[in-house]
Symmetry: none
Subunit: 212 residues, 4 copies
DNA sequence: TATGAATGAGTATTCATTCAT
DNA sequence: CATGAATGAATACTCATTCAT
């Protein structure tokens, strides 16, 4: 991951290396969330970290790698927050509701992270149209979430919708919230979450609710 | 409409002016849809139009005006496609379903337009997070759409959800489709539309379906 | 004077040509006085004249020629205003005082002209340091004025100062007034003129005032 | 002092930074004095310094800051040259004469500096006509000089002229010299200074020279 | 490890000028 | 005569990246 032109211990990252990387990633998140992707230059990020621009490129081979590291960090942090809560649910309906409400809770708790993530995903578009900084994150999220929906369908709790469409839809709706929140900082996220939970409960539930 | 520093805007735009503006707008749409907003420089756009950069700035006073012209063009085109179909519906449930399916049909017919629009809206945010190139478009769409939902609630056809959340959710889901389509060009949009229609039919309908 | 690549009657300027040139020169003066030399583009000037940029370059071979024509026009207009008044004086002391007060009166009457002239002279510097747009104007003014001073010295009315230094000094002091006026529009020019007249009366008069 | 988008301004500027800034300021003075303000582009200045354009913008946040730094440098240098000589004078008449002769001596010693200053002051006017790059310099000079004149009037050594007009006139006459010198490099500045000293001695002295 | 100096490619924009019509 | 379309060079400025120290 390190710059190939520099000579650094290749085997295991030192403590200081880990710390520096984490610090730079944090500042990058802050800068990207506040200024938007385009304005978040390496100089800006380094300045926030209180280091020189060169340091950033010592620990990351280029801006792309830094951004990818940011994306991965946000993903892992969100995963660590949301997954345990979802896994604690016994049924698919509860898992779905929890996925939604936990996602919103994560946004409420650390809004800079998903906001930075959104800015990255939206700005960074491959010339083919694919995301430039997405190390399989989108796919991983969607697949994980699709398994909940498939589970619900197998159990007869969910109606027979197209799992991929439903998963993509729900994820997109959640990903949209940080933008909304930026424009409307006073947004009542708890109420918002409740609306979404109800919306998708109705959108997914089987016609015969007996089993639920 | 021409750059004020170049020439006088006499009476009405000439044929060649209209043609050039349209051509440049088309190339801008193409470039923004393909490369993303940040990479779509004036040079890129002019190159696609086969003219020098200066020409672009002869017909548009600056990049901002060009982008706003693109946004307005996309909005008008979409409106002209979707609105008549929606207005032809007699009830709110039909109007909602038609809004969704007509939106998807528009995307299927001219995918570059909504894709460019999305890239503009997502990338072009001022530092407060508000849209820079949005001449009331987002608000106009949402309000127009909210009136359908409110109508359905008054008629008792829709359940009493939060109209603003539901409207924002549906619009965002539709806006997301162009990105998806860019990644999966073989996506079956007809089926996708049918899924969404059903999803939001269930999400919005009143518990007592007698009235529908 | 016309563009050499165009075919126009070379012998004598038509009425319309004279009118157009005069009109363009007037608008150029206006633009240069208002906006400063750097901001007074051909497009701006043409716009004020209500014609296309091309027209300007039809009547003047380039911007340089236009500017030179402006300078010449301002000089001729000033000359026509000031010279008769000065020539009406019988003695050198009166001529000097009149030169100063008439110059100030000219500035008061048509401030745009000397203001434009100043903007031109100050901005347009040859890379050798010489004025780019000065068709002998500065020299003509100074020489004409020097003759007044020399006259006064011959008559014994003026003391034996260096004529060139004195002439340059007085002219420069007068040329400076338009800038001052731009910053202080309420400047009392009559009082200003009186101060200058007295200043240079004392600076030039012979020690033995008997002869005056 | 460095560009804020590049690096953090830590404690005090390094030696190399000071040297580079000084070098760039020197080259800017040279370019502005030779080519005039409008032609002295950042590219030109950087070229003279033998560095890339970017370097200039690494040490100065923009052209404005560079120009202001140039103006300040010229002012400080001139002040350091002229003020001690003036302050050493005991009476207002001597102070006035010294101000004039020291100013000319400064021009003779470092002609590029006042010449660049003039080009900056004359060209760089905002649209109201006010100076863009003047960090109070003009005002400071005039007020400092006016105090000499007022002192002379209080002492009865100078006649009761309008102090502001006289101060502006003398300063303008001095500021005009560098332009003159550029056109006439062989100008005898010592004689020029003597002429001006005598000119303004006579213009300012009280009618009753008893007190002098 | 870390810095700061330096670069070069790229950005939007301005403007005098040319030329076909 | 006059227009408006088009160009190309120049301008200030940004930024990821390289590199000597």
């Amino acid at each position: 991951m390190r710059s190939e032109t520099q000579t650094v211990d290749q085997s295991r990252p030192s403590f200081i290396e880990q710390a520096r990387r984490a610090q730079i990633i944090d500042c990058a998140i802050e800068a990207i969330a506040e200024l938007g992707f385009a304005q978040a230059s390496l100089a800006q990020i380094a300045k926030r970290a209180g280091v020189s621009t060169g340091v950033t490129l010592y620990y990351f081979s280029g801006k792309d790698e830094l951004i990818r590291a940011v994306a991965a960090h946000v993903f892992r942090t969100g995963e660590a927050f949301i997954r345990p809560r979802v896994d604690a649910q016994e049924g698919p309906a509860g898992a779905l509701a929890t996925f939604i409400s936990a996602s919103v809770a994560f946004i409420a708790e650390k809004p800079a992270l998903p906001r930075a993530m959104m800015n990255i995903m939206r700005a960074g578009v491959d010339q083919g149209g694919g995301p430039r900084f997405d190390p399989g994150i989108t796919a991983a999220r969607r697949e994980g979430f699709e398994s909940i929906l498939a589970w619900g369908q197998r159990e007869g709790v969910f109606r027979p919708f197209d799992v991929r469409v439903m998963a993509a839809t729900i994820i997109e709706v959640l990903d949209f919230i940080p933008s909304r929140l930026a424009l409307e900082p006073d947004l009542d996220l708890t109420a918002y979450a409740a609306e979404l939970v109800e919306l998708f409960r109705r959108a997914t539930r089987a016609d015969d609710p007996a089993k639920e």
